[in-house]
């Protein structure tokens, strides 16, 4: 069962020529898309770009830093609302995109500081991030009254802000980008974010982040102030999610409380798990595969889309634990261990029953823990694990 964490290369190594070739091919693929695809596909793809950045922000934290944040949607939503409100007030769209990034980072810095410097344990960090995004959702949903106005913009509560300004040409702010232009900007940003994160992994910062995932105590015993690195990674991921949020809000176009929601947070887990978190391309592939699959299920008249997706998720968690892309890379190993794989597939019905029962238990436990979390610091984790 101990499949090697699949990656064609160690993340710390400088990417080889074939990786650059792959990135170039990806970019070329995106560039040619508007030439032969229908308009609605282009619109759909533009929407995926924002979601892919959200997936990347979680995949980077989880897959490389070992930080399981269920609430990257918080910074995604902050980015979406931050962009919308500022752009509506000022009319400056390019600057507002930068603001969305900064806003996501600021949110992550505040939340991250208290979690990481408070040394709460991993499980509490996960729960806290989720709670944070849900609180934001509740907060935004409650802003339907007339008094909730920022500058000239009404926040609109449940309904969201539908008048998200379209991106303008940065060097010619009087011209709005057309659909293809918007698509190109999204594709470029996604490729750049991917490229940036991948190259970051080869720097000392990135390598220490991987060290955190592998063994936080050892990293600290080597002399690294692990809290600073962890917070750094968290803030960076917040910025990526913020950018994704701004872009997503423009693409639908709507800044909506749904961006913060539990459903959205669950989507992110799904993308990252199915795509695979041991590479950075995995989460991106996860978004395109799952979202496309969802759309397809819809057109096939499958009523229970969520149910089908849940089944897919369970199969991935139980059988392809590394995710889609890494599994393709590991096929030889999987073949070698095929008996194991079969055994796990055959154990599925039993597991589903257990999961069903377990979910109830878990929910109960979570509620109890949350109740304990609120009054005090009973959750502080000692560092003396043996």
């Amino acid at each position: 069962m101990a499949y090697r964490v699949f990656a064609m290369q160690q993340p710390s190594q400088r990417p080889r020529w074939w990786w650059w070739l792959f990135v170039a091919a990806l970019a070329a693929f995106f560039i040619t898309m508007p030439l032969h695809l229908e308009l609605f596909v282009i619109l759909e793809m533009s929407r995926f770009f924002g979601l892919a950045m959200l997936a990347l922000s979680m995949g980077f934290l989880w897959g490389f830093g070992g930080v399981l944040s269920f609430g990257q949607t918080a910074f995604f939503g902050l980015g979406g609302y931050g962009y919308t409100v500022l752009a509506l007030n000022t009319g400056a769209t390019t600057g507002s995109v930068f603001f969305a990034i900064a806003f996501g980072m600021a949110g992550a810095a505040v939340l991250g500081y208290f979690m990481i410097y408070g040394r709460i344990s991993e499980i509490y960090l996960s729960v806290t991030t989720l709670v944070f995004t849900l609180i934001l959702e509740k907060g935004v949903r409650a802003t339907s009254g007339d008094q909730y106005v920022i500058g000239t913009v009404r926040l609109n509560g449940q309904n969201g802000i539908p008048t998200v300004p379209q991106l303008k040409v940065p060097w010619n702010p009087s011209v709005e980008l057309d659909i293809n232009g918007f698509f190109y900007v999204g594709a470029t940003l996604l490729v750049l974010v991917y490229l940036g994160l991948r190259l970051l992994l080869t720097t000392q910062f990135g390598r220490v982040i991987v060290g955190l995932r592998e063994n936080e105590r050892r990293t600290e015993l080597l002399g690294y102030d692990t809290r600073r690195y962890k917070l750094g990674a968290f803030v960076l991921a917040g910025g990526v999610a913020g950018l994704g949020g701004a872009f997503y809000a423009m693409s639908i176009p709507l800044a909506h409380p749904e961006m913060f929601s539990l459903g959205r947070a669950a989507d992110v887990i799904m993308w990252v798990l199915v795509g695979g978190k041991s590479t950075l391309i995995g989460p991106i592939a996860g978004v395109f595969a799952i979202e496309h699959f969802k759309g397809w299920l819809g057109t096939q008249g499958v009523g229970q889309v969520t149910l089908v997706l849940g089944a897919v998720l369970i199969v991935f968690v139980l059988v392809f634990q590394q995710g889609l892309l890494p599994t393709v890379g590991m096929l030889p190993e999987v073949w070698r261990d095929r008996r194991q794989v079969w055994r796990r597939i055959l154990a599925l019905p039993r597991t589903v029953a257990a999961v069903d029962w377990g979910v109830d238990e878990l929910a109960l436990l979570l509620v109890r823990r949350l109740a304990r979390l609120i009054p005090g610091s009973a959750s502080r984790s000692g560092r003396g694990r043996t």
Binding site: Q10, V208, N215, R218, G223, G384
Partner: protein, 242 residues
């Protein structure tokens, strides 16, 4: 011993786990340049003692002074910066990444990029790990993982190295090599070794400190310790570690 500079000292150090006093008032003094062995039956508190020295556990009472600094309440990364390196009892390495990357993370903390690579090359050949530099550490045998950790600690070039059972799970041959390595590193660094393997202790020991039930039972040369009746009783009464 009082002639030489004391680099590490604990005063009335204590650690309680609930009602258990795992360390019950330890006054420990270590001179610069020493190669000290720490022995004692299972549960004597040796690992707990090491963990307090490196802030993996907080002392319940007492004081730790290292190189003139009070480090009783310091953070773990600060202690590493002051110059204490530790190899824990359970191998504490990065299992999911390569041998080279493990050593790099250690070396790069202390040295610039170029010097770090030079240090890594040096330690790889010293530990005879060159051939497996690109292997994932989790796939290595127990003994080799211990060496990787030993390498990580030494490239940090600390002033004091604490080794908690460095030969556990090693063949006799590997144990002998570890003894030689420890002696070699000791030429520049103060070392404290916790071990159960008396054969190994005899190879390297100068001063031996015996822990028992959270206290220092005896401290002497290896010959005298072996003759010490109380120490023999403690060992025979327990599992007979000799």
């Amino acid at each position: 011993m009082s002639e030489r500079e004391i680099i590490l000292e604990t005063r009335a150090l204590e650690k309680r786990f609930g009602g258990v006093r795992a360390i019950a008032g330890v006054d420990f003094r270590l001179a610069r340049g020493e190669l000290r062995c720490l022995i004692g039956p299972n549960g004597a508190g040796k690992s707990t003692f090491f963990k307090m020295l490196t802030a993996q556990l907080r002392p319940s009472a007492g004081q730790i002074v290292f190189d003139g600094h009070d480090i009783t309440r310091a953070q773990a990364h600060r202690i590493s910066r002051h110059g204490i390196g530790i190899k824990n009892q359970v191998p504490d390495v990065y299992d999911g990444i390569t041998v080279h990357e493990n050593l790099w993370l250690a070396a790069r903390y202390r040295h610039g990029p170029r010097a770090a690579q030079a240090k890594i090359d040096e330690i790889l050949s010293r530990l005879e790990l060159v051939a497996i530099a690109d292997t994932i550490v989790g796939e290595l045998a127990h003994g080799q993982r211990q060496w990787v950790e030993f390498g990580m600690v030494t490239v940090l070039e600390p002033q004091v190295i604490l080794l908690d059972e460095p030969t556990a799970g090693m063949t006799i041959e590997e144990t002998n090599r570890t003894a030689a390595l420890i002696k070699e590193v000791n030429q520049t660094t103060t070392i404290v070794v916790v071990e159960h393997d008396m054969q190994f202790i005899r190879q390297i020991a100068r001063t031996v400190t015996v822990f028992h039930q959270g206290k220092i039972l005896a401290e002497d040369t290896m010959e005298n310790i072996q003759r010490n009746q109380t120490v023999r009783d403690v060992y025979l009464g327990k599992s007979g570690g000799a």
